[in-house]
């Protein structure tokens, strides 16, 4: 215990001096920032793309070696899309980001790490692959779930994650909203009623898409899971034959975008390879890999070849219906937004 009297102060002063000296000593021992090396790329991505990018990376490094002669190593980082964006903002040296929502890359751009117009730099809104929201139901579809209307029926239990924490859940929410708008000719009040009704049937809001999949597939909760199409196919592979995919009549076109992080590649001198890497995603070779991982490819030729593997569905885009991600985020998911209102009403 320290008593703040007499010569104790003197001792305390000495102690502080020692602390400062020690700190200074330690500081000089820490080596300077590491020299940039150009032989690696870091792709910061979201959760379900792990397998996709493992395959893409293997193919691209092989091609890059043949073309440029360089040995290239691509590192991957995966996590929730929003969390990944924050890591990049906080200093994770990502050469490229491949996230779930344009909103997350917009947030990085807002901090000046990349050009605000990033989405115009690559074709198809900088989204080399797309996906959509489908339903996963139990084998034989006991509740006869065919379309969005069936989700609001009494006695149907729906599993979807919390849109406040999960990017995937935001797509689910907007898909349902878009369906309702379409059905009632743009009546926002009707859409609010519909989505409120839907959330009444939701017993659990997991924090992430994978958590929701586990709740549905392993905990046995719910009659239907709202999920990314690629996740739904993955669940079929992983959890065996207990499930079926139901594709609704209409759903949202999810465009997971990709971008080069300007500040990082310029500092590390990796711009050329980073840009080549993202361009590569649009090549027929990469598009094949993309289709194999149950994402919908953009390339018309490849799409024609794999089309029968995907159920037909009418798709609307977030730009058309909601006026872009930032607007949708502010209206629906910001504090005090539509989602909060739905739960406040109860």
């Amino acid at each position: 215990m320290i008593r703040f009297i007499d010569d104790e102060w003197l001792r305390l002063g000495g102690a502080v001096l020692f602390a400062a000296a020690f700190a200074a000593g330690v500081a000089t021992l820490i080596p300077g920032a590491q020299a940039a090396e150009s032989k690696t790329l870091l792709n910061v991505s979201y959760d379900p793309t792990r397998e996709l990018y493992q395959q893409v990376n293997a193919a691209f490094t092989k091609q890059w070696k043949a073309k440029a002669g360089d040995e290239l190593k691509i590192n991957q980082s995966h996590g929730g899309s929003g969390k990944q964006a924050r890591s990049v903002i906080d200093g994770l040296e990502a050469d490229v980001v491949t996230l779930a929502l344009a909103y997350d890359i917009d947030a990085i751009a807002a901090r000046g790490l990349l050009d605000k117009e990033w989405q115009k730099k690559l074709s198809y809104n900088s989204a080399p692959y797309t996906s959509t929201i489908v339903f996963l139901v139990r084998k034989g579809n006991p509740k006869q779930i065919k379309d969005w209307d069936d989700l609001v029926k009494p006695g149907v239990s729906v599993i979807t994650p919390n849109p406040k924490t999960s990017g995937g859940a935001r797509w689910n929410h907007l898909a349902a909203w878009g369906y309702a708008l379409n059905k009632w000719n743009g009546d926002e009040g009707k859409a609010l009623d519909f989505v409120s009704q839907l959330y009444k049937n939701v017993p659990v809001l997991d924090s992430g898409a994978r958590g929701a999949t586990i709740t549905f597939a392993q905990r046995g909760l719910g009659d239907v899971l709202l999920a990314w199409e690629n996740e739904a196919y993955l669940a079929l592979d992983e959890f065996g034959g207990g499930f079926e995919i139901v594709t609704p009549s209409i759903s949202i076109l999810a465009e997971p975008p990709v971008a080069v992080v300007d500040k990082v590649v310029d500092r590390r001198g990796t711009r050329a390879v980073a840009e080549a890497y993202l361009q590569y995603l649009y090549t027929p070779e990469a598009q094949q890999i993309i289709a194999k991982n149950h994402y919908r490819p953009r390339d018309p030729e490849v799409w024609k070849a794999v089309q029968k593997g995907f159920s037909p569905v009418k798709l609307f885009t977030i730009d058309d219906v909601f006026g872009g991600w930032t607007k949708a985020q502010n209206t629906h998911f910001a504090d005090g937004g539509v989602f909060d209102k739905i739960f406040a009403k109860k």
Partner: protein, 286 residues
């Protein structure tokens, strides 16, 4: 004891220290505490200070935030209370009785310390979900654990248990069994022996264990998040609200909740400490 010497010597003079080096050791302590605790916490306060009054008011009149704070602190208090009772029991059994496998049980108590919290959360959810081993037994009784506030408390109890057991155990081991025998021979019945002899001796350790378990439960995220169900206003914990704010890139709002949690926790821990001091003083006096 130093305290005794001070009392005998009248007004305390700084006692001669046996081991020299007060300067360097305190210096190191200050540096260490600054780097590990103070600087991060100061940064937190600084960040939260960037928030206007109206924002503060808006954040803390938000019913979701309030509900989550209520669940985090209320649930933690209940969980710590449960742990205080059953942790004492576990410590008692481990100290006072010898039985085959005692060492194993003793080691098991520490598992909640070591287990990654996400693993704990997923395991608890698997057990307590309506189709889990325990959940399927409770379901017919109309008791739902997983995905309700009750599940949150179960997870909090799980992670808090070792704190109570490990703080009570050594004190209990030091407590002579003869003390109880003496009480019994003086005519105390079992309840009297427990309440008037054993409990006062264990009080401080038990209170410390309670405080530690409580503090741990308040800040817990990983294991709770899987079992909570995260329904707004019902089973959302305060740390989830922080994550929610971060997900909207609202760093300031997130730190504001963190600061409030920190202050409330600090005040509560301080109160527990004061309670302990007061009790201690009263025992001394009596």
């Amino acid at each position: 004891m130093a305290a005794n010497a001070a009392i005998i010597g009248g007004r305390p003079r700084a006692p001669r220290r046996v081991i020299p080096g007060f300067g360097p050791t305190l210096g190191f302590t200050l540096l260490y505490l600054s780097a590990i605790v103070l600087i991060p916490l100061a940064a937190l306060f600084l960040k939260a200070a960037g928030m206007g009054w109206d924002q503060w008011v808006a954040t803390f009149t938000d019913w979701r935030v309030l509900a989550s704070l209520r669940l985090s602190f209320g649930g933690s208090a209940i969980a710590a209370l449960v742990n205080a009772v059953f942790g004492l029991l576990v410590a008692w059994v481990l100290v006072r009785y010898d039985f085959p496998g005692r060492k194993l049980v003793d080691a098991m108590v520490d598992l909640p310390f070591a287990l990654p919290t996400a693993v704990a959360g997923i395991a608890l959810t698997a057990l307590y979900a309506p189709n889990g081993w325990i959940g399927s037994l409770l379901e017919p009784l109309g008791i739902k654990v997983a995905f309700t506030p009750l599940g949150v408390i179960v997870a909090m109890v799980f992670i808090g248990l070792p704190f109570v057991v490990r703080t009570v155990e050594p004190v209990l081991a030091d407590l002579d069994a003869e003390l109880e025998e003496a009480a019994a021979s003086l005519g105390a019945d079992r309840v009297q022996t427990f309440v008037r002899v054993i409990l006062p001796a264990l009080g401080p350790a038990l209170l410390t264990g309670f405080a530690l378990a409580f503090a741990r439960a308040v800040g817990e995220y990983g294991s709770i998040i899987f079992i909570a169900g995260n329904m707004p206003g019902i089973s959302e914990i305060a740390p989830l609200m922080i994550v929610t704010k971060l997900e909207q890139f609202d760093y300031v709002g997130a730190t504001a909740i963190a600061v409030v949690m920190l202050v409330v926790s600090f005040v509560l821990l301080l109160a527990i400490n004061a309670l302990q001091k007061w009790r201690h003083a009263r025992l001394r006096g009596g």
